[in-house]
């Protein structure tokens, strides 16, 4: 029990609770509910039709493919960057960390645009790519590139504070006992960072599957070919096919809910607090 001097009056507390939770209801719960309500507005049959329609299935397949390529790339990069940054001392480390965080502060639209400037028909490498019959923009490689860019910092920024806090003792002990570098990584480092890594991968995956702006610029919106799920939602919505748009959107909302449940589970079960800010 808190004593009276360091807690609010009953009235103040009730007011704060009502306002705060009311705000959350209005801004977080209602949008979530409306997605499912609209998706099921014409019954379960219409919902199933919209979700199982060939273009929707193609969009799901593409979204899964893009995530399956970009997430492992970011894991490899994140682990390598965190290893270099936390296990060694070198000048310019904080600049490197700032550069890794850079994609978070760039507008998604600009994130797509930069690849159009490089690989588009009028881009720097455009003529060369056309000559060799390689298409990046308005094709799957461009979508993967844009996705890798927007999800670039997730794994690294989760691992860097975690590995910095854990120090180098475990690895040094493993090495002095005769382990190779790889062995030290697999048997000493990885068990220490696995939950943090999973946490980063979870957030990375959610963003990879849900990215809209950056992917929209490089995709070309070819139905059944270069349409990811979020782009498919937009097309259906702009065609006033609201039931189908919300049906596909509800799958993405479910993905978000699963992500949140897993994330909370990690925080609760392993007492792992994200963002390196332990309470």
């Amino acid at each position: 029990m808190r004593n009276g001097a360091t807690s609010e009056s009953r009235l103040a507390r009730a007011t704060i609770m009502t306002l705060g939770l009311g705000f959350l209801g209005l801004f977080l719960v209602m949008p979530l509910l409306v997605v499912f309500a609209q998706a099921l507005a014409s019954g379960i049959g219409a919902y199933a039709d919209a979700v199982l329609e060939p273009d929707a299935l193609a969009a799901m397949k593409l979204t899964l493919t893009v995530a399956a390529i970009s997430v492992p790339l970011n894991i490899a990069f994140g682990v390598a960057a965190a290893w270099a940054i936390t296990k060694f001392d070198f000048p310019g480390k904080s600049i490197l960390i700032t550069f890794i965080d850079l994609p978070f502060s760039v507008s998604p639209v600009v994130s797509g645009l930069i690849y159009v400037l490089l690989f588009g028909a009028q881009g720097w490498l455009g003529p060369w790519l056309a000559e060799h019959d390689v298409q990046i923009i308005f094709a799957v490689p461009g979508i993967v590139l844009a996705t890798v860019f927007v999800t670039f910092p997730f794994v690294a920024r989760e691992l860097i504070p975690l590995m910095a806090e854990q120090g180098r003792d475990d690895e040094e002990a493993a090495l002095s006992l005769g382990a190779s570098g790889w062995q030290a990584f697999w048997h000493a480092t990885l068990p220490n960072i696995r939950w943090g890594l999973l946490y980063g991968v979870l957030l990375c995956n959610a963003r990879a599957m849900g990215e809209f702006g950056a992917v929209s610029v490089v995709s070309g919106h070819i139905r059944g070919e270069t349409n990811t799920m979020p782009l498919h939602v937009e097309i259906l919505y702009n065609e006033y096919n609201f039931v189908a748009a919300f049906a596909v959107a509800s799958l993405l909302a479910l993905l978000a809910l699963v992500t949140l449940v897993l994330k909370s589970f990690l925080e609760w079960r392993y007492d792992y607090h994200g963002k390196g800010t332990g309470h």
Partner: protein, 293 residues
């Protein structure tokens, strides 16, 4: 970078080569991991981003200013920055309130509320966009009650603010929460025992302690809002000069194959983002110093 030396104290069998610019260590893999990170960083982030600036530099000032500083572009920046600022203010107030609830109060379902706060990080922006448009449309769940009052949200600047509130909320809550949890009960007790009322304790003791974190959250929410695209384009009417946000203007230029125009506006936005990033880093450093003290 390639100069090598052998560290004296490494165990036998571990002959290592190391770049001379880093401190010696027995842990291997610096060359591999540092090289990989730097190469990947350059290929994915730095070189593509520099393309924007190089292309803009080739435009010449007149061309640049005729696009990036045109009346339509200025109106778009004003909306993007203004709406983000408004949303960040709303989030500073309610985000602090929610952080307070999560740190100080115990209630049934707290774990659910805590998880839900991160929804804007997890929910794809396009889904949020169509959900808010549906809620605030004239016949929507909320819009139908606002319509008789003469309040229009969907397809107005107000709608842009509403979605940006959604997008920015977790930044404030998650910035303030750990700092609020770290404030010792002793300072509040001291303040109360010296005769301060609860409101005075909040204003004089708690608020100054969390101010850097609150400002960091505010700046993060603001920065995110300025660049936001997916959730806004559905609810904004996308009318030039009125409800057209800056990222949408880039898309419009691209659709007209005006790559130079799109790049010019992107340059303005990148400079704004990088300035905000610098500001946020300074705020975070301030916040850390406060916490350590």
């Amino acid at each position: 970078m390639t100069a090598t030396a052998t560290a004296g104290h490494i165990p036998p069998g571990h002959r290592m080569r190391r770049p001379c610019f880093r401190a010696p260590s027995i842990i291997p893999g610096f060359g591999l991991t540092f090289g990989l990170s730097l190469t990947w960083l350059c290929l994915i982030v730095l070189i593509p981003l520099s393309a924007v600036f190089i292309k803009t530099a080739g435009m010449g000032w007149d061309h640049f200013s005729s696009v990036a500083l045109s009346e339509r572009a200025i109106a778009a920046y004003r909306l993007s920055f203004g709406a983000s600022l408004g949303a960040a203010f709303i989030n500073a107030v309610f985000g602090l309130m929610i952080a307070w609830i999560l740190v100080r109060y115990d209630f049934v379902g707290k774990r659910v509320v805590n998880a839900l706060v991160d929804l804007p990080f997890a929910l794809p922006t396009a889904v949020a966009g169509i959900a808010f448009t549906s809620l605030y449309a004239d016949n929507g769940w909320i819009g139908q009650y606002l319509e008789p009052l003469g309040i229009k949200v969907a397809f107005t600047q107000f709608g842009v603010v509403i979605t940006l509130v959604f997008i920015g909320l977790p930044f404030v809550v998650r910035s303030v929460e750990p700092v609020l949890a770290d404030i010792g009960k002793d300072v509040e007790e001291a303040s109360a025992s010296l005769g301060a009322t609860r409101a005075q304790t909040f204003r004089r003791v708690i608020l100054p302690a969390i101010l850097p974190a609150l400002l960091t959250g505010f700046a993060l929410a603001f920065a995110r809002g300025v660049g936001e695209y997916g959730s806004v384009i559905f609810i904004a009417g996308n009318m030039p000069y009125e409800t057209e946000i800056a990222p949408l203007l880039i898309i419009t230029q691209l659709e007209q194959y005006d790559y130079a125009g799109a790049t010019a506006i992107a340059t303005v936005m990148l400079i704004a983002s990088f300035s905000l990033l610098l500001l946020i880093n300074l705020l975070q450093a301030w916040s850390r110093r406060r916490t350590v003290d």
